[in-house]
């Protein structure tokens, strides 16, 4: 009896480890059941729901403009693009065209938000791989962006900075100058971080060939955003279904070739440069005029349904809106980028080492607020 028990213990090669929900490497409250053989990962099972707040149900009892603050709290590192998707969906259903100034303002804020979100990604990704210092450099820059947000709408994180039909506020005096000053110094900072990481031998060893997903697999899993583009698929909602005035500005879609963590890193770094390029063009062309279209006091979209998506920093963020003609949505479903990207995690880390798991979680850039909603 005793020896049989001991033998079973000695033969057991698999071990189950629970990563999270309170683990230093799982961003937010993600929990992973990891089955390992020594250091090698046999299987991973993500367990989610620790941050579920019933956002989609809450939408159903809020007015359309009242839904916007709830979207802030989904992907809380990219509130602006969340707002953008929601108001875009309602405007599409109502057939509203927003004034050009509002569209350009939305693009400027959304691209700033993309920078801020990518900065959080880079900071935590590098920290997970053991490089502490970039974290502080990134957060310094992010703080400057949040200062710009704060000046525009009073909030730094949960911006609530768009309304159905346009933008709620005019820019404060001198905002464009401060924004230009920020983007003028920003590319040099990106070059700095690249100097710490891109050619760093350890960084490359930790990321090249880690968490590989082929282009075909990435499409099968429904990946969007940098994880998809890192595999070499040129797909960006801003290009394929342009919204606001993205068809009027010039920018490139960076893509990777190998679909590994390193390529996704390069893609995001290049996206930051492209975002700066977009912001610069928008600031140059920013038209004068009103920031709000003529919309009724009470937003009542006609009966019908619509799907509208934007390119959020993490991937395609879609809103599927069903209206019964009332002042609240009948159903408002969110197509979250992070939730769908996360599903590929087990596929990407199976057979790799525990250390790669944290690298891949970092490279997927997930936010649990959006996964659980």
């Amino acid at each position: 009896m005793e020896s049989a028990h001991l033998k079973a213990f000695a033969d057991a090669e698999e071990m189950e480890i629970s990563f999270g929900p309170q683990h230093p490497s799982t961003h937010g409250v993600l929990r992973l059941m990891v089955k390992v053989d020594g250091e090698r990962i046999l299987d991973v099972k993500p367990i989610i729901g620790y941050l579920h707040r019933g956002t989609e149900k809450l939408f159903e009892r809020e007015t359309y403009n009242g839904c916007i603050p709830h979207t802030d709290r989904m992907d809380y590192t990219a509130a602006v693009t969340n707002n953008q998707g929601l108001v875009g969906a309602v405007e599409k259903l109502m057939g509203i065209t927003i004034p050009p100034r509002a569209a350009y303002l939305r693009m400027i804020l959304a691209e700033l938000q993309r920078l801020a979100s990518h900065l959080v990604w880079l900071a935590t990704h590098a920290l997970d791989i053991g490089a502490q210092t970039p974290y502080f450099y990134c957060f310094e820059e992010r703080d400057k962006i949040l200062d710009l947000f704060e000046e525009y709408c009073g909030a730094r994180l949960t911006t609530n900075c768009m309304r159905v039909g346009g933008m709620p506020f005019e820019l404060t005096a001198g905002w464009t100058d401060r924004c230009r000053a920020f983007i003028d110094q920003f590319p040099a900072k990106v070059a700095d971080w690249e100097r710490i990481l891109t050619k760093n031998r350890i960084w490359r060893e930790r990321t090249v060939g880690v968490g590989v997903i082929s282009a075909a697999d990435a499409i099968e899993w429904g990946l969007t955003g940098p994880p998809l583009r890192g595999s070499g698929v040129r797909w960006d909602i801003r290009k394929v279904f342009p919204y606001d005035r993205y068809d009027e500005v010039e920018f490139d879609i960076p893509i990777g070739t190998n679909g590994d963590t390193y390529d996704r890193y390069l893609v995001r770094m290049e996206e930051m440069r492209q975002s700066v390029r977009i912001i610069r063009q928008c600031l140059e062309r920013l038209p004068e005029g009103p920031v709000m279209a003529k919309v009724p006091k009470v937003i009542k979209p006609p009966k019908g349904e619509v799907y509208f998506s934007v390119e959020a920093p993490k991937g395609e963020l879609g809103y599927y809106l069903v209206s019964e003609g009332g002042d609240t949505p009948y159903r408002l479903h969110v197509r979250p980028a992070c939730f769908i990207n996360l599903q590929a995690l087990p596929e990407m880390v199976r057979g790799q080492l525990v250390a790669d798991l944290v690298a891949v979680i970092g490279t997927l850039d997930i936010v649990l607020g959006e996964i659980d909603r």
Binding site: Y135, Y137, R206, A355
Partner: protein, 344 residues
């Protein structure tokens, strides 16, 4: 007091107490310096609230650790759990028995003719602390951390040994005092002929102390706290002190073996300067500590710069790069010594 009692008991005891106090205080203050240096690398200010400019931070940390609740997990192996931190700290401190801080007998506790073997042997015991600590905690993260460091320490011990042997070949002695003396007599510090050995030694040293970029056993993002996940209070502080004491050991050994120990810079070229009245009062340990501090700064600089290696990459580096390099270097140096024929 009779003479033997004085020489064999009182004086050594006083020296031991002084060394221990300086060492433990030094290790505690290293945490403060590390936080300051890292902070300046990372555009922060670092601790600056406790005492003038934050200088009492280390004391405050120590006090905090003293009064913290000392938890022992219910299902842990109690005795081994208690033993592990002791096994970490004691070897680290023991090494300083043979490290010469200066030329005369006052500046060292003892000088044994196999000091180098003593250092290698004693410091290897520290591995047990980590393995046992990881195992006895009865925690999966701790176990994995313990296994990682066991593998890491064993594989880096070997190239490190070869790097040290190069110095022995050059010096013809295992006594640390003698090694420094030889460097003075030859007029050249061993880091010049042994530059490869120095490189191998220091890389291994960083790995041995579980410091970035080889800090896998305590990789926070993967294994929470690694082998000391379950430790708290003073037991945890022992692990912490042990880590810093080991950093001092590695740095001190590097100074003695490769950088002429207590000798001032360019001892022969600039001899008139060092013996001049302006500088003759500088005690030799000053130079020793200066060199040690430089190495320790290097440690902290690493931590502010590098990402972390992965387990398999670390093993590959140890066995496939450092080991062959150190072996080849040993052969080259040995041949050189043979041909120059200065010491056989």
């Amino acid at each position: 007091m009779p003479e033997p009692l004085m020489t064999y008991l009182v004086i050594p005891l006083v020296k031991i107490v002084v060394i221990l106090l300086v060492l433990i205080l030094g290790a505690a203050y290293l945490t403060f310096f590390e936080r300051k240096i890292l902070a300046y690398i990372q555009i922060r200010l670092g601790p600056n609230r406790v005492g003038p400019k934050g200088w009492l931070q280390a004391i405050a940390d120590a006090l905090k650790l003293f009064v913290k609740e000392d938890l022992t997990p219910a299902r842990s192996e109690k005795f081994v759990f208690l033993l592990a931190p002791v096994l970490i700290i004691v070897p680290a401190l023991l090494v300083f028995a043979v490290i010469p801080f200066g030329p005369s007998d006052i500046w060292r506790l003892t000088d044994i003719n196999v000091a180098l073997l003593f250092v290698l042997g004693v410091s290897s015991v520290g591995i047990y602390g980590i393995i046992l600590g990881g195992w006895s905690s009865n925690n999966k993260y701790s176990l994995m951390g313990g296994l990682r460091s066991a593998a890491q320490l064993i594989s880096y011990e070997v190239p490190m040994g070869f790097a040290v042997v190069t110095v022995v070949v050059m010096a013809g002695s295992l006594s640390l005092v003698r090694i420094v003396e030889v460097q003075r007599e030859l007029g050249v510090w061993f880091f010049l002929p042994g530059i490869v050995a120095l490189f191998v030694y220091f890389v291994c040293g960083v790995a041995e102390t579980n410091r970035n970029p080889f800090d896998l056993p305590e990789a926070e993002s993967e294994l929470v706290g690694g082998f000391h996940t379950e430790y708290s209070g003073m037991k945890w502080a022992f692990f912490f002190l042990g880590e810093y004491a080991n950093m001092i050991v590695i740095s001190a050994m590097a100074t003695v073996l490769f950088f002429g120990g207590w000798l001032p810079p360019f001892p022969n070229l600039l001899e008139p300067l060092w013996t001049s009245s302006a500088l003759a009062w500088v005690p030799p340990p000053f130079w020793f500590l200066l060199k040690v501090a430089a190495f320790i700064f290097l440690y902290m600089w690493f931590r502010g710069t590098f990402p972390r290696y992965r387990f398999d990459q670390l093993m590959r580096l140890g066995w496939k790069v450092l080991l062959p390099v150190s072996l080849a270097n040993l052969m080259v140096v040995a041949l050189g010594v043979l041909m120059l024929g200065e010491r056989s």
